[in-house]
Protein backbone atom coordinates (compact mmCIF):
# COMPACT_ATOMS: atom_id res chain seq x y z
CA UNK A 1 0.00 0.00 0.00
CA UNK A 2 3.06 2.21 0.09
CA UNK A 3 2.39 3.70 -3.34
CA UNK A 4 -1.34 4.00 -2.95
CA UNK A 5 -2.46 7.55 -3.59
CA UNK A 6 -6.15 8.28 -3.19
CA UNK A 7 -7.20 11.02 -5.57
CA UNK A 8 -10.34 13.10 -5.25
CA UNK A 9 -12.74 13.19 -8.16
CA UNK A 10 -11.63 16.72 -8.96
CA UNK A 11 -7.97 15.74 -8.95
CA UNK A 12 -8.69 12.78 -11.23
CA UNK A 13 -10.59 14.93 -13.70
CA UNK A 14 -7.91 17.56 -13.67
CA UNK A 15 -5.16 14.99 -14.22
CA UNK A 16 -7.21 13.43 -17.04
CA UNK A 17 -7.54 16.77 -18.81
CA UNK A 18 -3.81 17.32 -18.48
CA UNK A 19 -3.05 13.87 -19.90
CA UNK A 20 -1.48 12.74 -16.65
CA UNK A 21 -3.64 9.67 -16.01
CA UNK A 22 -3.04 6.08 -17.00
CA UNK A 23 -4.35 2.61 -16.27
CA UNK A 24 -7.35 2.14 -13.96
CA UNK A 25 -7.56 5.86 -13.11
CA UNK A 26 -7.96 6.79 -16.76
CA UNK A 27 -10.52 4.03 -17.26
CA UNK A 28 -12.55 5.21 -14.28
CA UNK A 29 -12.73 8.72 -15.73
CA UNK A 30 -13.69 7.36 -19.16
CA UNK A 31 -16.37 5.14 -17.59
CA UNK A 32 -17.94 8.15 -15.95
CA UNK A 33 -17.55 10.23 -19.08
CA UNK A 34 -19.74 7.78 -21.00
CA UNK A 35 -22.21 7.11 -18.20
CA UNK A 36 -22.96 10.38 -16.42
CA UNK A 37 -24.40 13.45 -18.14
CA UNK A 38 -23.66 15.74 -15.19
CA UNK A 39 -20.00 14.77 -15.36
CA UNK A 40 -19.77 16.48 -18.76
CA UNK A 41 -20.61 19.79 -17.08
CA UNK A 42 -18.02 19.14 -14.39
CA UNK A 43 -15.39 18.49 -17.02
CA UNK A 44 -16.28 21.70 -18.77
CA UNK A 45 -15.95 23.62 -15.47
CA UNK A 46 -12.55 22.01 -14.88
CA UNK A 47 -11.43 22.99 -18.36
CA UNK A 48 -12.38 26.59 -17.62
CA UNK A 49 -10.53 26.54 -14.34
CA UNK A 50 -7.38 25.07 -15.88
CA UNK A 51 -7.41 27.65 -18.67
CA UNK A 52 -7.78 30.51 -16.22
CA UNK A 53 -5.09 29.17 -13.92
CA UNK A 54 -2.77 28.86 -16.90
CA UNK A 55 -3.48 32.40 -18.04
CA UNK A 56 -3.01 33.75 -14.52
CA UNK A 57 0.18 31.69 -14.06
CA UNK A 58 -1.29 29.74 -11.19
CA UNK A 59 -0.38 26.25 -12.43
CA UNK A 60 2.61 24.33 -11.09
CA UNK A 61 5.53 23.81 -13.46
CA UNK A 62 4.46 20.22 -14.09
CA UNK A 63 0.85 21.20 -14.75
CA UNK A 64 1.90 24.04 -17.00
CA UNK A 65 4.08 21.78 -19.06
CA UNK A 66 1.28 19.18 -19.35
CA UNK A 67 -1.20 21.91 -20.20
CA UNK A 68 0.94 23.12 -23.11
CA UNK A 69 1.89 19.68 -24.36
CA UNK A 70 -1.46 17.93 -23.96
CA UNK A 71 -4.40 20.16 -23.19
CA UNK A 72 -3.60 22.70 -25.88
CA UNK A 73 -3.10 20.08 -28.57
CA UNK A 74 -6.86 20.27 -29.13
CA UNK A 75 -7.90 23.12 -31.43
CA UNK A 76 -11.18 23.51 -29.56
CA UNK A 77 -9.36 24.08 -26.30
CA UNK A 78 -6.91 26.49 -27.88
CA UNK A 79 -9.81 28.53 -29.21
CA UNK A 80 -11.48 28.46 -25.82
CA UNK A 81 -8.27 29.66 -24.21
CA UNK A 82 -7.95 32.56 -26.66
CA UNK A 83 -11.51 33.64 -26.00
CA UNK A 84 -10.99 33.34 -22.24
CA UNK A 85 -7.73 35.28 -22.45
CA UNK A 86 -9.47 38.18 -24.14
CA UNK A 87 -12.35 38.13 -21.67
CA UNK A 88 -10.02 38.03 -18.66
CA UNK A 89 -8.16 41.04 -20.05
CA UNK A 90 -11.35 42.99 -20.59
CA UNK A 91 -12.71 42.03 -17.18
CA UNK A 92 -9.38 43.02 -15.61
CA UNK A 93 -9.53 46.42 -17.27
CA UNK A 94 -13.09 46.97 -16.05
CA UNK A 95 -12.10 45.98 -12.51
CA UNK A 96 -9.65 48.84 -12.18
CA UNK A 97 -10.42 51.73 -9.78
CA UNK A 98 -12.08 53.83 -12.49
CA UNK A 99 -14.86 51.25 -12.70
CA UNK A 100 -17.50 53.92 -12.11
CA UNK A 101 -16.92 54.96 -15.70
CA UNK A 102 -17.20 51.42 -16.97
CA UNK A 103 -20.20 50.01 -18.84
CA UNK A 104 -20.64 47.47 -16.00
CA UNK A 105 -21.29 50.20 -13.47
CA UNK A 106 -23.53 52.02 -15.89
CA UNK A 107 -25.51 48.88 -16.58
CA UNK A 108 -25.70 48.01 -12.91
CA UNK A 109 -26.96 51.47 -12.04
CA UNK A 110 -29.51 51.26 -14.82
CA UNK A 111 -30.73 47.91 -13.59
CA UNK A 112 -31.15 49.09 -10.01
CA UNK A 113 -33.06 52.23 -11.03
CA UNK A 114 -35.43 50.25 -13.21
CA UNK A 115 -35.94 47.78 -10.41
CA UNK A 116 -36.68 50.57 -7.93
CA UNK A 117 -39.32 52.08 -10.22
CA UNK A 118 -41.00 48.74 -10.80
CA UNK A 119 -41.00 48.05 -7.07
CA UNK A 120 -42.58 51.44 -6.46
CA UNK A 121 -45.35 50.73 -8.97
CA UNK A 122 -46.04 47.32 -7.42
CA UNK A 123 -46.11 48.83 -3.93
CA UNK A 124 -48.61 51.45 -5.03
CA UNK A 125 -50.85 48.87 -6.70
CA UNK A 126 -50.75 46.57 -3.71
CA UNK A 127 -51.98 49.25 -1.30
CA UNK A 128 -55.12 49.98 -3.33
CA UNK A 129 -55.74 52.84 -5.67
CA UNK A 130 -57.39 55.98 -4.46
CA UNK A 131 -58.02 58.79 -6.94
CA UNK A 132 -54.88 60.85 -6.29
CA UNK A 133 -52.77 57.71 -6.03
CA UNK A 134 -53.96 56.52 -9.41
CA UNK A 135 -53.01 59.88 -10.91
CA UNK A 136 -49.65 59.67 -9.19
CA UNK A 137 -49.13 56.18 -10.53
CA UNK A 138 -49.84 57.30 -14.08
CA UNK A 139 -47.32 60.11 -13.63
CA UNK A 140 -44.72 57.67 -12.27
CA UNK A 141 -45.35 55.33 -15.17
CA UNK A 142 -44.94 58.12 -17.66
CA UNK A 143 -41.72 59.24 -16.02
CA UNK A 144 -40.46 55.67 -15.92
CA UNK A 145 -41.35 55.12 -19.56
CA UNK A 146 -39.61 58.35 -20.57
CA UNK A 147 -36.50 57.37 -18.60
CA UNK A 148 -36.50 53.94 -20.14
CA UNK A 149 -36.64 55.47 -23.60
CA UNK A 150 -33.72 57.77 -22.71
CA UNK A 151 -31.71 54.89 -21.30
CA UNK A 152 -32.50 52.78 -24.33
CA UNK A 153 -31.28 55.52 -26.67
CA UNK A 154 -28.18 56.16 -24.56
CA UNK A 155 -27.42 52.48 -24.42
CA UNK A 156 -27.83 52.06 -28.17
CA UNK A 157 -25.54 55.04 -28.74
CA UNK A 158 -22.91 53.52 -26.44
CA UNK A 159 -23.16 50.15 -28.19
CA UNK A 160 -22.88 51.82 -31.60
CA UNK A 161 -19.89 53.84 -30.47
CA UNK A 162 -18.10 50.76 -29.14
CA UNK A 163 -18.81 48.90 -32.39
CA UNK A 164 -17.57 51.88 -34.39
CA UNK A 165 -14.36 52.13 -32.38
CA UNK A 166 -13.77 48.40 -32.58
CA UNK A 167 -14.41 48.45 -36.30
CA UNK A 168 -11.92 51.28 -36.79
CA UNK A 169 -9.38 49.56 -34.58
CA UNK A 170 -9.86 46.26 -36.39
CA UNK A 171 -9.43 47.90 -39.78
CA UNK A 172 -6.26 49.64 -38.65
CA UNK A 173 -4.91 46.55 -36.93
CA UNK A 174 -5.41 44.52 -40.08
CA UNK A 175 -2.35 46.11 -41.64
CA UNK A 176 0.68 44.13 -40.49
CA UNK A 177 4.19 45.15 -41.46
CA UNK A 178 6.70 42.32 -41.09
CA UNK A 179 10.47 42.74 -40.56
CA UNK A 180 13.37 40.54 -39.52
CA UNK A 181 16.05 41.66 -37.08
CA UNK A 182 19.42 40.05 -36.35
CA UNK A 183 20.79 40.49 -32.83
CA UNK A 184 23.34 43.20 -32.17
CA UNK A 185 23.97 46.46 -30.40
CA UNK A 186 26.32 48.03 -32.94
CA UNK A 187 25.46 51.41 -34.36
CA UNK A 188 26.51 52.86 -37.69
CA UNK A 189 26.83 50.62 -40.72
CA UNK A 190 25.31 47.53 -39.18
CA UNK A 191 22.34 49.22 -37.58
CA UNK A 192 19.07 48.63 -39.35
CA UNK A 193 16.72 51.41 -40.18
CA UNK A 194 13.17 50.18 -40.51
CA UNK A 195 11.01 52.16 -42.90
CA UNK A 196 7.52 51.68 -41.57
CA UNK A 197 4.52 52.87 -43.61
CA UNK A 198 2.28 55.33 -41.81
CA UNK A 199 -0.68 53.02 -42.61
CA UNK A 200 0.81 50.09 -40.68
CA UNK A 201 -1.24 49.18 -37.63
CA UNK A 202 1.14 46.61 -36.24
CA UNK A 203 4.79 45.81 -36.78
CA UNK A 204 5.70 42.15 -36.73
CA UNK A 205 9.34 41.79 -35.69
CA UNK A 206 10.97 38.44 -36.39
CA UNK A 207 13.86 38.24 -33.96
CA UNK A 208 16.74 35.98 -34.93
CA UNK A 209 18.69 34.66 -31.95
CA UNK A 210 22.27 33.53 -31.50
CA UNK A 211 21.38 30.51 -29.40
CA UNK A 212 18.55 28.01 -29.80
CA UNK A 213 15.35 28.95 -27.99
CA UNK A 214 14.19 26.19 -25.65
CA UNK A 215 10.70 27.37 -24.64
CA UNK A 216 7.59 28.54 -26.51
CA UNK A 217 7.19 32.02 -24.95
CA UNK A 218 9.47 34.97 -24.17
CA UNK A 219 9.40 38.60 -23.10
CA UNK A 220 10.36 41.61 -25.20
CA UNK A 221 11.05 45.10 -23.88
CA UNK A 222 11.29 48.12 -26.12
CA UNK A 223 13.42 51.12 -25.08
CA UNK A 224 14.07 54.47 -26.72
CA UNK A 225 17.71 55.35 -27.29
CA UNK A 226 17.25 58.20 -24.84
CA UNK A 227 16.46 55.60 -22.16
CA UNK A 228 13.42 54.20 -20.43
CA UNK A 229 11.16 51.27 -21.26
CA UNK A 230 8.28 52.30 -23.47
CA UNK A 231 6.59 48.98 -24.13
CA UNK A 232 6.73 45.37 -23.07
CA UNK A 233 5.16 42.14 -24.27
CA UNK A 234 5.12 38.76 -22.51
CA UNK A 235 3.55 37.21 -25.58
CA UNK A 236 6.65 36.72 -27.71
CA UNK A 237 6.45 33.38 -29.45
CA UNK A 238 9.18 31.09 -30.69
CA UNK A 239 8.81 30.76 -34.45
CA UNK A 240 11.76 28.46 -35.08
CA UNK A 241 14.79 27.08 -33.32
CA UNK A 242 16.54 30.46 -33.48
CA UNK A 243 13.73 32.87 -34.15
CA UNK A 244 11.00 34.51 -32.09
CA UNK A 245 8.20 36.81 -33.16
CA UNK A 246 6.71 39.82 -31.46
CA UNK A 247 3.87 42.11 -32.57
CA UNK A 248 4.46 45.77 -31.72
CA UNK A 249 1.71 48.39 -32.10
CA UNK A 250 2.99 50.73 -34.81
CA UNK A 251 2.18 53.82 -32.75
CA UNK A 252 4.95 52.77 -30.36
CA UNK A 253 7.49 53.18 -33.14
CA UNK A 254 7.72 56.83 -34.10
CA UNK A 255 10.86 57.99 -35.93
CA UNK A 256 13.99 57.52 -33.80
CA UNK A 257 16.38 54.92 -32.44
CA UNK A 258 15.33 51.96 -30.36
CA UNK A 259 16.68 49.01 -28.47
CA UNK A 260 14.59 45.88 -28.14
CA UNK A 261 15.60 43.26 -25.57
CA UNK A 262 14.49 39.65 -25.80
CA UNK A 263 14.41 37.94 -22.40
CA UNK A 264 13.42 34.67 -20.81
CA UNK A 265 9.71 34.72 -19.87
CA UNK A 266 9.10 37.43 -17.27
CA UNK A 267 12.83 37.89 -16.59
CA UNK A 268 13.76 41.30 -17.88
CA UNK A 269 16.78 41.67 -15.55
CA UNK A 270 20.36 41.15 -16.79
CA UNK A 271 20.27 37.43 -15.96
CA UNK A 272 17.31 36.79 -18.25
CA UNK A 273 18.51 38.61 -21.38
CA UNK A 274 18.79 36.44 -24.49
CA UNK A 275 19.63 39.02 -27.18
CA UNK A 276 19.44 42.77 -27.86
CA UNK A 277 18.40 44.39 -31.14
CA UNK A 278 19.31 47.98 -31.95
CA UNK A 279 17.49 49.64 -34.82
CA UNK A 280 16.30 52.95 -36.14
CA UNK A 281 12.83 53.80 -37.41
CA UNK A 282 11.59 56.18 -40.07
CA UNK A 283 7.91 56.59 -40.89
CA UNK A 284 6.84 57.04 -44.49
Amino acid sequence: LGNLVVKSEEELTRAYLLGLLDGPDRESVEDRLFADDSYLDQIEDQEDQLIEQYLRRELTAKERSAFEAHFLSSARRRRRMEVTQALVRIAGALNKPERHASPSYWWSALFHQQFALTALAIAILSTGLTGWLAVRLVQERNIAAARQREWSIERQQTTDKIAQLQGAQAARSATVFALTLAPGLLRGQTERVLRIPVAAGTVQLNLQTQAALPGPHYTATLHREAGGDIWRSDDVRREGTRQAMVLVPAEMLSAGRYLLTLSAPGKTGPGGVIDDYAFGVTRE
Partner: protein
Protein backbone atom coordinates in the same frame (compact mmCIF):
# COMPACT_ATOMS: atom_id res chain seq x y z
CA UNK B 1 -7.15 3.31 -44.56
CA UNK B 2 -8.85 6.57 -43.83
CA UNK B 3 -11.91 7.83 -42.08
CA UNK B 4 -13.34 10.09 -44.73
CA UNK B 5 -14.49 7.65 -47.36
CA UNK B 6 -17.81 6.57 -45.94
CA UNK B 7 -20.86 7.55 -47.95
CA UNK B 8 -23.02 10.44 -46.77
CA UNK B 9 -25.91 9.61 -44.48
CA UNK B 10 -29.45 9.95 -45.68
CA UNK B 11 -32.20 11.33 -43.46
CA UNK B 12 -33.70 7.94 -42.68
CA UNK B 13 -30.38 6.52 -41.52
CA UNK B 14 -29.64 9.54 -39.37
CA UNK B 15 -33.15 9.40 -37.93
CA UNK B 16 -32.53 5.78 -36.96
CA UNK B 17 -29.47 6.87 -35.02
CA UNK B 18 -31.41 9.60 -33.23
CA UNK B 19 -34.16 7.13 -32.28
CA UNK B 20 -31.54 4.70 -31.05
CA UNK B 21 -30.05 7.39 -28.82
CA UNK B 22 -33.42 8.48 -27.47
CA UNK B 23 -36.83 7.48 -28.84
CA UNK B 24 -38.31 10.77 -27.61
CA UNK B 25 -37.92 13.18 -30.55
CA UNK B 26 -37.80 16.11 -28.12
CA UNK B 27 -34.67 14.73 -26.50
CA UNK B 28 -32.87 12.86 -29.23
CA UNK B 29 -31.13 15.98 -30.59
CA UNK B 30 -29.68 16.76 -27.16
CA UNK B 31 -28.66 13.12 -26.78
CA UNK B 32 -26.77 13.33 -30.07
CA UNK B 33 -25.00 16.54 -28.97
CA UNK B 34 -23.97 14.90 -25.71
CA UNK B 35 -22.73 11.82 -27.53
CA UNK B 36 -20.54 13.96 -29.74
CA UNK B 37 -19.24 15.84 -26.70
CA UNK B 38 -18.42 12.55 -24.93
CA UNK B 39 -16.55 11.20 -27.92
CA UNK B 40 -14.62 14.42 -28.43
CA UNK B 41 -13.58 14.44 -24.77
CA UNK B 42 -12.61 10.78 -25.02
CA UNK B 43 -10.29 11.42 -27.97
CA UNK B 44 -8.95 14.62 -26.42
CA UNK B 45 -7.82 12.43 -23.52
CA UNK B 46 -5.14 10.89 -25.75
CA UNK B 47 -2.28 13.19 -26.63
CA UNK B 48 -1.69 11.84 -30.13
CA UNK B 49 -5.40 11.86 -30.98
CA UNK B 50 -6.39 15.13 -29.31
CA UNK B 51 -5.59 17.23 -32.35
CA UNK B 52 -8.06 15.22 -34.43
CA UNK B 53 -10.67 14.74 -31.71
CA UNK B 54 -13.50 16.29 -33.74
CA UNK B 55 -12.79 14.16 -36.79
CA UNK B 56 -12.34 10.99 -34.75
CA UNK B 57 -15.64 11.65 -32.98
CA UNK B 58 -17.32 12.10 -36.38
CA UNK B 59 -15.67 8.92 -37.64
CA UNK B 60 -16.96 6.99 -34.63
CA UNK B 61 -20.53 8.16 -35.16
CA UNK B 62 -20.19 7.47 -38.86
CA UNK B 63 -19.06 3.91 -38.31
CA UNK B 64 -21.68 3.27 -35.61
CA UNK B 65 -24.36 4.48 -37.97
CA UNK B 66 -23.04 2.24 -40.71
CA UNK B 67 -23.16 -0.75 -38.35
CA UNK B 68 -26.70 0.16 -37.34
CA UNK B 69 -27.76 0.36 -40.98
CA UNK B 70 -26.18 -3.01 -41.77
CA UNK B 71 -27.56 -4.63 -38.66
CA UNK B 72 -30.85 -3.04 -37.44
CA UNK B 73 -30.95 -5.50 -34.52
CA UNK B 74 -28.30 -3.35 -32.92
CA UNK B 75 -31.09 -0.95 -31.98
CA UNK B 76 -32.08 -3.34 -29.20
CA UNK B 77 -28.72 -2.79 -27.49
CA UNK B 78 -27.73 0.17 -25.32
CA UNK B 79 -26.22 2.71 -27.72
CA UNK B 80 -23.60 4.44 -25.55
CA UNK B 81 -21.62 1.33 -24.47
CA UNK B 82 -21.67 0.08 -28.06
CA UNK B 83 -20.51 3.38 -29.50
CA UNK B 84 -17.80 3.59 -26.85
CA UNK B 85 -16.48 0.26 -28.08
CA UNK B 86 -16.47 1.60 -31.64
CA UNK B 87 -14.56 4.66 -30.40
CA UNK B 88 -11.92 2.39 -28.86
CA UNK B 89 -11.49 0.61 -32.20
CA UNK B 90 -11.22 3.91 -34.05
CA UNK B 91 -8.58 5.08 -31.57
CA UNK B 92 -6.68 1.82 -31.97
CA UNK B 93 -6.71 2.16 -35.75
CA UNK B 94 -5.64 5.78 -35.53
CA UNK B 95 -2.78 5.00 -33.18
CA UNK B 96 -1.58 2.12 -35.33
CA UNK B 97 -0.83 4.50 -38.19
CA UNK B 98 -1.61 8.03 -37.05
CA UNK B 99 0.41 9.85 -39.69
CA UNK B 100 -1.23 8.19 -42.65
CA UNK B 101 -4.69 8.70 -41.29
CA UNK B 102 -3.99 12.21 -40.13
CA UNK B 103 -3.07 13.16 -43.68
CA UNK B 104 -6.34 11.84 -45.06
CA UNK B 105 -8.47 13.68 -42.54
CA UNK B 106 -10.13 17.00 -42.81
CA UNK B 107 -7.51 19.14 -41.15
CA UNK B 108 -9.49 22.24 -40.35
CA UNK B 109 -7.81 22.12 -36.94
CA UNK B 110 -4.34 21.98 -38.31
CA UNK B 111 -4.16 25.42 -39.85
CA UNK B 112 -0.62 26.64 -39.99
CA UNK B 113 -0.37 28.92 -37.03
CA UNK B 114 1.51 31.81 -38.51
CA UNK B 115 1.84 35.04 -36.64
CA UNK B 116 -0.47 36.67 -39.14
CA UNK B 117 -3.23 34.19 -38.33
CA UNK B 118 -2.70 34.66 -34.65
CA UNK B 119 -3.12 38.36 -35.23
CA UNK B 120 -6.19 37.64 -37.30
CA UNK B 121 -7.70 35.80 -34.37
CA UNK B 122 -7.34 38.85 -32.17
CA UNK B 123 -9.02 40.97 -34.79
CA UNK B 124 -11.87 38.50 -35.21
CA UNK B 125 -12.27 38.23 -31.47
CA UNK B 126 -12.64 41.99 -31.15
CA UNK B 127 -15.12 42.04 -33.97
CA UNK B 128 -17.20 39.20 -32.50
CA UNK B 129 -17.18 40.74 -29.02
CA UNK B 130 -18.46 43.93 -30.62
CA UNK B 131 -21.40 42.04 -32.08
CA UNK B 132 -22.68 40.73 -28.75
CA UNK B 133 -25.71 42.43 -27.26
CA UNK B 134 -24.97 44.73 -24.33
CA UNK B 135 -26.48 42.20 -21.88
CA UNK B 136 -24.45 39.30 -23.24
CA UNK B 137 -21.29 41.39 -23.27
CA UNK B 138 -21.80 42.43 -19.64
CA UNK B 139 -22.55 38.89 -18.55
CA UNK B 140 -19.64 37.19 -20.26
CA UNK B 141 -17.17 39.84 -19.10
CA UNK B 142 -18.69 39.84 -15.61
CA UNK B 143 -18.18 36.08 -15.46
CA UNK B 144 -14.43 36.63 -15.54
CA UNK B 145 -14.37 39.67 -13.26
CA UNK B 146 -12.68 38.00 -10.31
CA UNK B 147 -9.09 38.44 -9.23
CA UNK B 148 -7.66 34.93 -9.05
CA UNK B 149 -8.66 31.66 -10.65
CA UNK B 150 -9.05 30.25 -7.13
CA UNK B 151 -11.81 32.82 -6.46
CA UNK B 152 -13.67 31.90 -9.62
CA UNK B 153 -15.99 29.28 -8.14
CA UNK B 154 -17.20 31.51 -5.31
CA UNK B 155 -17.67 34.41 -7.70
CA UNK B 156 -19.56 32.38 -10.26
CA UNK B 157 -21.60 30.14 -7.98
CA UNK B 158 -22.54 32.65 -5.30
CA UNK B 159 -21.69 36.29 -5.80
CA UNK B 160 -22.46 36.82 -9.49
CA UNK B 161 -25.81 34.94 -9.40
CA UNK B 162 -26.76 36.99 -6.32
CA UNK B 163 -25.90 40.19 -8.12
CA UNK B 164 -27.86 39.19 -11.21
CA UNK B 165 -30.69 37.67 -9.15
CA UNK B 166 -30.44 34.43 -11.09
CA UNK B 167 -29.52 30.87 -10.20
CA UNK B 168 -25.99 29.65 -10.82
CA UNK B 169 -27.35 27.15 -13.35
CA UNK B 170 -29.09 29.90 -15.31
CA UNK B 171 -25.97 32.07 -15.35
CA UNK B 172 -23.81 29.15 -16.41
CA UNK B 173 -26.10 28.12 -19.26
CA UNK B 174 -26.23 31.70 -20.50
CA UNK B 175 -22.45 32.05 -20.35
CA UNK B 176 -21.93 28.78 -22.22
CA UNK B 177 -24.34 29.94 -24.90
CA UNK B 178 -22.60 33.29 -25.27
CA UNK B 179 -19.18 31.69 -25.39
CA UNK B 180 -20.27 29.23 -28.07
CA UNK B 181 -21.73 32.10 -30.05
CA UNK B 182 -18.39 33.87 -29.75
CA UNK B 183 -16.40 30.80 -30.75
CA UNK B 184 -18.61 30.16 -33.77
CA UNK B 185 -18.41 33.82 -34.79
CA UNK B 186 -14.61 33.70 -34.55
CA UNK B 187 -14.47 30.53 -36.67
CA UNK B 188 -16.62 32.14 -39.36
CA UNK B 189 -14.59 35.34 -39.20
CA UNK B 190 -11.29 33.45 -39.54
CA UNK B 191 -12.57 31.48 -42.50
CA UNK B 192 -13.35 34.68 -44.36
CA UNK B 193 -10.57 36.95 -43.14
CA UNK B 194 -7.66 38.31 -45.08
CA UNK B 195 -4.79 40.27 -43.65
CA UNK B 196 -2.73 42.57 -45.81
CA UNK B 197 0.92 41.85 -45.19
CA UNK B 198 3.76 43.96 -46.54
CA UNK B 199 7.20 42.43 -46.69
CA UNK B 200 10.70 43.40 -47.74
CA UNK B 201 10.44 47.13 -47.17
CA UNK B 202 13.21 47.28 -44.62
CA UNK B 203 16.66 48.45 -45.70
CA UNK B 204 20.10 48.54 -44.24
CA UNK B 205 21.26 52.01 -43.47
CA UNK B 206 24.19 52.75 -45.76
Amino acid sequence: MGFRNSRPWNDTEFQALLVWLDPDPNRSGAAYAKLHQRLRLFFEGWRDAARYAEELADATIDRSLRKLTENPELASREPIPYIRTVASYILKEFRSQPQTIALTMDTRDSRTESSTESFDETRCLNRCLGRLSAEDYELIVGYYAHDKAADALKWRKVLLPQRLKKSYGAVRVQVLRIRRTLEECIDRCLDGSRVVTFRGQDNRHQ
